[in-house]
Every structure is written in C-alpha cells, then in structure tokens.
Symmetry: C2
Subunit: 197 residues, 2 copies
Amino acid sequence: MKQAQINPRKTPTQARAKASVQAILQAAAHILERGGLETLTTNYVAEVAGVSIGTLYQYYPSKEAILTDIIRQKRARLLEDLQAATLEMHNESFDVTLAKLLHAAVESQLHWPKLSKALEYAESFLPLEQETRVLNEQINQTIVAFLEHHQVADAPVAARDLVSALRGMIDGAGLAGETDARALFERALKLAKGYLA
Amino acid sequence: MKQAQINPRKTPTQARAKASVQAILQAAAHILERGGLETLTTNYVAEVAGVSIGTLYQYYPSKEAILTDIIRQKRARLLEDLQAATLEMHNESFDVTLAKLLHAAVESQLHWPKLSKALEYAESFLPLEQETRVLNEQINQTIVAFLEHHQVADAPVAARDLVSALRGMIDGAGLAGETDARALFERALKLAKGYLA
DNA sequence: GCAATATTCGAGCGAATACTCACATTTCTC
DNA sequence: GAGAAATGTGAGTATTCGCTCGAATATTGC
C-alpha cells in the first residue's frame, strides 16, 4: 500500500488552465454523485471533464489528490457558513444561532447526498493535507464554542455527537430521496434541541 | 461496469470446508476493520484466511459476494436482537423498550466502527441479495411498529431519522476511540428521547 | 480398500487502471 | 512577430487485481 502524493502539483495561472482544473473538480464531484467512489477513475474523470489524462496529471499527482481537494473545498465552504452563523451569537438567543447552524448543515449535505457520503468515507482512509485538518479542527471549534457559550456540559463530546448524528440523519434523508430542506431542517432542530435539553 | 454475481457458489458440507468459509469471512471482516474497503482484495483475503485463492472462489463467485455475505450476517444478528428487544413491548413502558433497542444498536456497531462504516458504504453501491433486502425491511418494520405502538406521529420518517442519526453517532464515537458502551448508550438515549419528545 | 466425491491448491491470464513522456499547440512578453 | 513559457495531448507502460482451471489431496460411502 504505497502512500499517494496528495498535494497539488502546480497552480494554474492562465485562465484556460484554471478552467481545466475547475472542470476536473466538477467532473469528479459529478461522478461521485452518480456512481460513488468505485466509479471514480482518473481516465474517466478526464473524459467527463473534457480534458486529456495528461492535463489532469499536470495539476493532480494522484487520484487521491483530487478527492482531497474536493474535500478541502467543501470543508472551507462549510466553515465559512458556520462562522457566519455564529458571528452574532453573543447578541442572539441559543435557538436563533442553533437554527442558523443547522440550516448551514442541511444545505451543505442534502442536495448531493451520494457525494457527501462518498467524501465522508474517503476521509476515513485518505491522508488529509494539513490545510484540511486545520479546517476540520476549526469547524469543530466553532461548534464547541457555541455550545460552551450556552453552558452545555461536556461540549467537546456533545459537539462530536451532534455533528456525527446530524451528518447521518441528513445523508439518510438525502439518500432516501428527500429534497424538502425546510422539513428536514425542522426535524434536525428537534434532534439537536432534544439532545441538548 | 459489469454486474457482479453475488449469490454464494456452493454450500460447504464437510467440516473443513465450513472452516474455510468461516476463515474467509473472518479474514474479510478483519481486513475491513483494519484498512477499509480499498484494502479488501480477494488475494489478500485468501492469504489472511490461510486458504488459497482457488478455495475462496469455490464458495464466493466475486469479492462482492463476500461483502454481501458479511452484511447479511450482521443484519440477521441485529434483527434478532431488535426483535428480542421489542418482544415484550406490549407489557413494557416506552422507556424500557427503547433502552433495549438502543443497547442492541450500540453493541452492534461500537466495537468495530471501521467495519460498520465500510459495510454501510458498501451497501450503498452493492446490488444486495433478496434475503438482505428482506432483513433490512424487517429491521425497519420493527422500529416503525415500536414507534406506532407508542403513538409517534410519522413513524416511518421518524424511524429513518433515528436509525441514520444513531448510526452516525455511534460510528462517530467509535472512530474517535470511544469504547465505553455504557456512556455512549446514555447519550444515545438522550438523543432518541429528545427527538421523540 | 477402493472408487466416488468433495475440497484444496496456486501459477498465470486478461482486463482495468494509475500514471508518464515526448511532442504539439496556445498564450504571454517585449 | 519571435522567442519563451505555459498548457494540452493521448498512445503507451507498468502494475494491480479479479478470477480460472487443471491437477493434487483429502474425505466419504460401500
């Protein structure tokens, strides 16, 4: 089991190169949403992206590097949304901030459930790059800070429980074909408030 | 993407053949718990099991067939436990039966978290055999019946929410290194009772 | 004990797939 | 517009891995 290189190979400067990289990432995400991890092959990604296999390897040294980059992007986006949700938490009630957090969580997962699940599973065996590990830590800290601010006992454990339970629930709903974010959000709220009561 | 044959090839009759099959299943589970789906190769399973690759293919026509068989066994065991938990539900309080159910859920997942997660992911792309689909349906029905017996509104949706949320939470705890089933059980109880309150 | 049957063995085949490289094309720079 | 730099190409290589098959060995039934 050789250790795959995961850091991007070179950064595109020209516009068409940036477009190639975007096409590769989008194609990979699309393939994951359609068929899951086992259908993700580098040749297929290149084909769907409309670039040659050589171009793909100009920017990513391995299949794992592509996966890692997608995970990094998703996590960065989620962190941004969670931080926005807790920005005013000192002036807001517990309920209001919690609602904002759960809204962000539902939006980040419900619409691409197979992709979410595939990335989540991939994360469990990929050697994540430094940057992504930091993002994950910041996401966790954001939740922990929110819980502690409202005197929740055992905030680190509660954060982990809530995050993993909600991930499971949202994915479960998405895979079952649910698309009504509002309805799911209400149930997520029940789950979280119930656990924290 | 060819469709893999998943039904067992032939059933062992002699004792040593049964031992071979058991060794294969155990080896596969062990490999999944150690390294996940991408480290599960048929040659490696045979090696760990201490049988030749030819022997493996006497009983399983494909790698998928092995995975499917492991899933079937786990599900059968879980269903048994859940049915035992709800056996007396007509004479018991909601809380007592719920506790039994959650106990079974925690026991079935906490001790082999990587295996659980790998199987769960595998289930999302494998063409499950009839028998396993029936088992899954019975598991679901057991939960739905319990919820309906206690007048829970929207029992099918609630059952799906709870099952997927608890799966996520238990896996999350296991992967984080928790081993205290009792402590986790208490939190699972909070989660479930909170959601259903 | 002897045939019939069940089981085991593992070298090796074929297909899938990650990845390279020498060369072609486009874009930038001045 | 010319040279340099960046980008794109895809046939081809190397390796991994699922799986077969023909031959050897063990067990059973009579």
